[in-house]
């Protein structure tokens, strides 16, 4: 089973939901009663194993990993039944997402078939130099709002001085965030993940920070604990911290 997982490539999947559906199908799990501990373990293992994490989709995988860990933590909470209010299963939202996604994934097969059956047929294209046009310049057929916006963007980029139009690109790397977290842990024995999240405005930084935590966890530079009372992650120094 493990070796099989090794061969799976992140890019085989359209996203975290797709991967979860794959794991559910592979292990013949019940989608209405997902064994959350097992699937979280397999999912994390997969995300760690995926060699070339391309940031674009990796971020979505990492966010899902965080969601799974959150659900897992909630599942551990003792259920305090009030009698009246029914307590919602922490897995419900994820389950609904998976079911909804499954419907569209299924429909995608139909689209793929329609594409294939239409492929051999080519539409007649009327002569472009036709005398019905008012002038000889290339006529753009069926101009859409998108074309207007692209054209304006193109014109304005060429018009303005490049210097006045430079966009500050926020750059953050995994090693920078490892350094950042190490610095914080020198000063503090414990860090709250939720507290860290509040510091960052961009999703990109959140994602890279989470990846940095996973990386440090793997190297045993940090330990991560989940409190019983809150579903927050508590980060503390690991056995190899500072080595």
């Amino acid at each position: 089973m493990k070796n099989q997982l090794h061969r799976i490539d992140l890019e085989m999947f359209e996203g975290p939901l797709d991967l979860l559906l794959f794991l559910i199908k592979r292990d013949e799990l019940n989608i209405y009663d997902i064994p959350i501990a097992k699937i979280t373990k397999d999912f994390l293992e997969f995300v760690n194993l995926a060699k070339e994490l391309r940031l674009h989709s990796a971020g979505d995988f990492v966010l899902m990993a965080a969601t799974l860990m959150k659900i897992k933590a909630r599942m551990l909470l003792p259920i305090e039944a009030d009698g009246d209010d029914e307590i919602e299963d922490p897995r419900t939202e994820l389950m609904n997402m998976l079911l909804e996604y499954k419907r569209y994934k299924e429909a995608t097969t139909t689209f793929s078939e329609m594409e294939r059956s239409e492929r051999p047929h080519y539409y007649h294209i009327p002569a472009t130099w036709s005398p019905h046009q008012e002038d000889n310049t290339a006529i753009l057929e069926d101009v859409k709002l998108y074309d207007i916006m692209l054209t304006f963007q193109y014109l304005i980029k060429n018009y303005e001085e490049p210097a006045t139009h430079s966009v500050a690109v926020e750059e953050v790397t995994l090693s920078e965030q490892v350094g950042f977290l190490s610095g914080l842990l020198q000063a503090n024995a414990k860090l709250s993940f939720a507290g860290l999240l509040e510091k960052f405005e961009s999703r990109l930084v959140v994602v890279v920070t989470f990846l940095a935590i996973l990386e440090m966890l793997r190297n045993r530079q940090v330990k991560v604990k989940q409190s019983k009372l809150f579903d927050d992650l508590l980060i503390s120094r690991g056995s190899t911290f500072g080595n």
């Binding site: 996203g15 989709s57 499954k102 569209y104 994934k105 051999p120 007649h124 057929e141």
Partner: protein, 184 residues
């Protein structure tokens, strides 16, 4: 106007039209020369003609109108006309995005991403570039997000007369039942 004259006019229109020829557009073209024969009947007659004389094309009912398309058997030759050896196929991601837009339209990028669970910028871009999707106004809500819809080109690409012709989105119970059967 009698059928033979109409057949010729409709044929000329089909050859000249850059978009599907609809009943309405046909009547605009006819102008004052009113015809009592519906377009559909003229099309039927032309179709028979083309079949009998072994033409390499036929008339396809698409996007609410009619358009001339080549017979499938000539694809191997026609491919040579286009630099990237024929039509580019859509990626799985783009097909997923299209499926969501076609069943739920109009939708925002957020709607798409929350169903797919993955950011969908690049598929949206591909689909806009290929004119299969178009931006159509904004949502009423506070965010006023842009709304996306499928286009006429979408219908042409998948050979559909209207979005209503799409197979119904299956219920999840049906899909799961089928999955179970496969396992047995």
């Amino acid at each position: 106007m009698e059928i033979n004259e109409l057949k010729q006019i409709v044929e000329a229109l089909l050859i000249a039209t850059p978009e599907p020829l609809t009943e309405t557009r046909f009547h605009t073209c006819l102008g004052d020369s009113v015809s009592k024969i519906p377009l559909q009947e003229v099309i039927r007659e032309l179709t028979t003609d083309y079949e009998q004389s072994g033409r390499a094309f036929f008339i396809k009912e698409v996007a609410g109108g009619y358009q001339i398309v080549t017979n499938g058997e000539f694809e191997p030759y026609i491919k040579g006309l286009f630099s990237k050896s024929g039509k580019l196929r859509l990626s799985q991601a783009a097909l997923e995005t299209l499926a969501i837009v076609s069943y739920k339209q109009p939708v925002t990028r957020n709607d798409i991403e929350s169903i797919r669970g993955v950011s969908s910028d690049s598929s949206l871009r591909t689909l806009l570039d290929r004119k299969l999707l178009e931006i159509r106004g904004r949502e009423d809500g506070p965010g006023r997000a842009l709304l996306y819809r499928t286009s006429t080109e979408f219908l042409q690409y998948f050979g559909l007369n209207s979005v209503k012709d799409l197979p119904r989105l299956r219920e999840v119970e049906d899909i799961l039942a089928e999955d179970d059967q496969e396992l047995v």
